[in-house]
Assembly symmetry: C2
Homo-oligomer: 543 residues x 2
């Protein structure tokens, strides 16, 4: 017997329609590449999204044709998120931090018919233009009078001229909710990048779940600053979830330095900001150095990499900003877990709370997470057993788009995240490491993240990366690579002594390597592969 309720598709068009109808006047503020601050509203974004749809019709783009974007976080990118997907095409967000060669490969692999890019990325486009012959239209995200002229790039179109030549009257088509809406390539460190193809359904369900009070808790009383890029991992789904919630959205454009972010937060009354730990590090440095306070910010979502407990403490205790530690990945749309404390946990002493907040939190309603041992046996939720973290649910990848090989397919319906984690009795997941970053010493595993977090808690340390170095007896031994805070000093011996009592003796690194910087990947994560290559001949001291 079937239910007798109406049947409608879960669709991205319904998100922008809703935002226009119910909070059309909520603001969208964007720092543009031109440097100025641009103000618009959800209603205007909706209108311009319909102009895009008409523009794509005029290009005779078919259903499911791909439209690439190489753009910062801003209103035009938001318009494209909706205009492209809601009209039935597939939005392909391209990460400009990848190598030009990889970008060309990605655009060709996705078969983008149109690519929209910011003027900032003109040199990049020059480098790939000839390599991407199937792209029919290159659109520059600017006014007609700011168009670059370049003989190597014939036929560039001004975005503003393009959309303004089209009507804002358009009726979104009815779309199968399982149809592709957007895609994003992972920044695989080996082999070709792999593409995750989201559906209208997965996107809407992810938006519902991530806006819930136990997750981001988004409401129309929020002013949200997404410091996590729209060109990667869908800016954690915020372009969609803020449409449900009717938030004011504040886009920082390319300016992610501490000063720019802080000023924007203060001037636009930002209540929630979302970003990776390295970006928040810059923000906190700026705020501390200048003796500033946050007047409106009350919570920050930290993800993309494990948030060091020391950072949680500074936000919470120093500034009264609640840290919502989160974990996810491109393959999870991207949000898997958010760490919001339970009622009884809020009564724990502050140091216990920080320990809990250092966990990545619990799965959103809509996905399941489990840990398995090497033989595929389910491990208990006791906060101690650690194993391969696997995911299953509405917004978890099923298969990659036209993969080179099938090695990365599901295991009994579960997606292997590549992370190693524990899960406690309340369902709190703690990522102990990436599978490939775990250090095996004398038959035991050492979590590189745990070793890094301790170093990060030292007042003289700005950034720390722990890697394993080959060892004749123990197989591998950990070393800690450290970037010191400007002007701060700490010796090898002091730092090693700092570990005493915090971990078992055999987990203390064998050595400290001081570096000027740690190589970072295109998505703001530390590139430990590079570090390992760089230090392959590092000689451990005799102990």
């Amino acid at each position: 017997m079937l239910g007798l309720m109406q049947r409608h598709s879960l669709s991205i068009s319904s998100l922008i329609d809703f935002a226009e109808r119910q909070h059309g006047d909520a603001e969208i503020v964007s720092r543009r590449v031109e440097g100025d601050l641009h103000r618009t509203t959800w209603a205007a974004v909706a209108r311009r999204a319909r102009q895009i749809a008409n523009g794509l019709e005029a290009f005779q783009l078919a259903f499911s044709d791909r439209v690439g974007t190489i753009a910062w976080n801003g209103y035009r990118h938001l318009e494209l998120y909706y205009g492209v997907s809601a009209s039935g095409r597939v939005l392909h967000t391209v990460n400009p931090r990848l190598h030009p060669e990889q970008i060309a490969w990605i655009i060709n692999h996705a078969e983008d018919r149109v690519v929209c890019f910011e003027t900032t990325f003109l040199p990049l486009v020059k480098a790939i233009y000839k390599e991407c012959p199937k792209v029919k239209h290159w659109i520059v995200l600017c006014e007609a009078d700011r168009m670059p002229t370049d003989d190597d790039l014939p036929g560039l179109i001004s975005y503003e001229e393009w959309i303004n030549s089209h009507s804002d009257q358009y009726r979104w088509p009815e779309i199968d909710e399982y149809a592709a809406s957007s895609m994003c390539y992972t920044s695989g460190t080996t082999g070709h990048p792999k593409a995750v193809v989201y559906s209208h359904r997965s996107t809407v369900l992810h938006a519902y779940a991530s806006a819930l009070p136990n997750a981001f808790g988004l409401s129309e009383r929020d002013s949200v600053l997404p410091a996590v890029p729209m060109f990667h991992v869908n800016s954690w789904g915020l372009p969609y979830s803020t449409a449900i919630a009717g938030c004011k959205v504040v886009f920082p454009g390319p300016g992610l330095d501490g000063k720019s972010l802080y000023e924007l937060m203060e001037s636009e009354g930002v209540t929630l900001a979302a970003g990776v730990p390295t970006v928040w590090q810059g923000l906190l440095e700026h705020v501390k150095q200048n003796g500033l306070r946050f007047s409106t910010l009350n919570r920050t979502v930290v993800g993309g990499a494990a948030c060091p407990p020391a950072m949680i403490q500074v936000f919470q205790e120093g500034f009264g900003v609640e840290v919502l530690h989160a974990w996810g990945m491109t393959e999870l749309s991207p949000i898997g877990t958010v760490c919001s404390l339970k009622n009884n946990q809020l009564n724990l002493p502050p140091e216990e709370q920080v320990k809990l907040r250092a966990k990545q939190g619990r799965a959103l309603y809509g996905i399941e997470l489990e840990i398995f041992d090497e033989l595929g046996k389910l491990l208990p939720h006791d906060g101690k057993a650690y194993g391969s973290l696997m995911a299953r649910g509405h917004w978890v990848v099923g298969e990659y788009f036209r993969p080179d090989d099938l090695s990365s397919s599901l295991v009994n319906g579960w997606f292997p995240t590549g992370d190693v984690a524990t899960i406690d009795g309340d369902g709190f997941v703690q990522i102990t490491d990436r599978n490939k970053d775990m250090i095996k010493s004398g038959g035991e595993w050492i979590s590189s993240i745990e070793i890094e977090n301790i170093a990060m808690a030292h007042p003289s340390v700005q950034m720390a990366a722990c890697i394993g170095i080959k060892h004749p007896k123990w197989d591998e031994r950990p070393i800690i690579c450290v970037v010191k805070r400007p002007g701060a000093e700490v010796t090898r011996e002091e730092l090693l002594a700092f570990y005493e009592g915090k971990v078992s003796k055999w987990q203390i690194p064998d050595d400290v390597v001081f570096l000027d910087s740690i190589p970072m990947g295109a998505t703001g994560k530390m590139l430990k592969t590079k570090l390992r290559e760089h230090l392959i001949n590092h000689r451990l001291p005799q102990t």
Copy 2:
């Protein structure tokens, strides 16, 4: 091109699995018919739901077979919500306030195979037992040693004995998300009741949307008291949405008087309570008469009937409790709108805010609401134009279950709610009346709700109902029926004078009728049909 994300059903089993896994220790507190306070947890509810599933297998109930419940708000009813639906059967909640004849008709129409009822309803079951020969098992929601013995009711089964004879090991089946999960009959005042059949999908999407911060804003920090019955309109979906949010739930059982509710709220730290205005009236009377305060309650959802602005004011200004005015109906699962103010509206003066909160609020994300005139023309969202309110969306009825006739089908895909409403530029809906309660005077419409709200703002008035009385010249003229507060006095003339300046002269009632009580229907709504019958010969004074 299809998205490449995993495909899973939206299912009610995933709700209870989630609650067990992630907040198994959150409490479920129930006032039982025995009078005592029972404490359990989401984890135990999940275990017992699986025992129910095994019990239903033992009864050889097929997929989609109906299981009726005649029960108060309590943990056993919650267990049935999950055990029945998640195992693939259809939960049929029966409203015990209907006439026994109607109840028998409903149980037969739904073809219930099993009926579970509380000891309170033994007399009712006696009255219908013989009329429902297709019910194979009558289960009493009590322990074996409390079982009633009655020769007229052979074969009664003790719920506790039944479920405890079955294992709590059970694997929920995979279910098509469009399959029926539960059903509820509307309390149609004319003709047979009509059944709405919910699906797993509609139920889960409704739960997602209603838990969002702009709606109920449910989180694991909440202790929720549903004073709206689980035997009707799914207790506004709270049995499902609290499972997503991990709330503590406090079930009042049959005790909805002010004193019982207040004591439960205080002892269980209730933060959010949901109920109809008449229930809150009793609560507020108790609190005011005894000079009490709410120590934890911070918001109350008011729906089922329009919330008088005077009540909003008392809650907000007198007690600091935010009123979330809501509107819905059985056919909408039931939540259609919730009134939560937007950022800029929170800065308005209190009296302006009360005006806004007197509106029923905005459609949840997932449904659409529009108003149409008599010719089916779409009316503008200007807060002035009023017309028939129509609904469309994921949790709106498509068709009734085995209807007597097809007169109640959709109009161009829209469900006619039977309400008359305005919608303003922000999407705020205000119900001006039920279609059938509007009063037509001299070719103009008068909103009975507006006239009632003014009377309700008079300090001596406890309850007020406005109906139209036939008039030779004006077609109809409004009169106001009033129940005075205990000990309070007010004359006809004083009350009529109270209207001056508040509405146009021609909208002021022609007469006041003082009554001891106003007839109430099975779902806590005023029965204006009864009132109209009672006053059919009322003679209007000459004016």
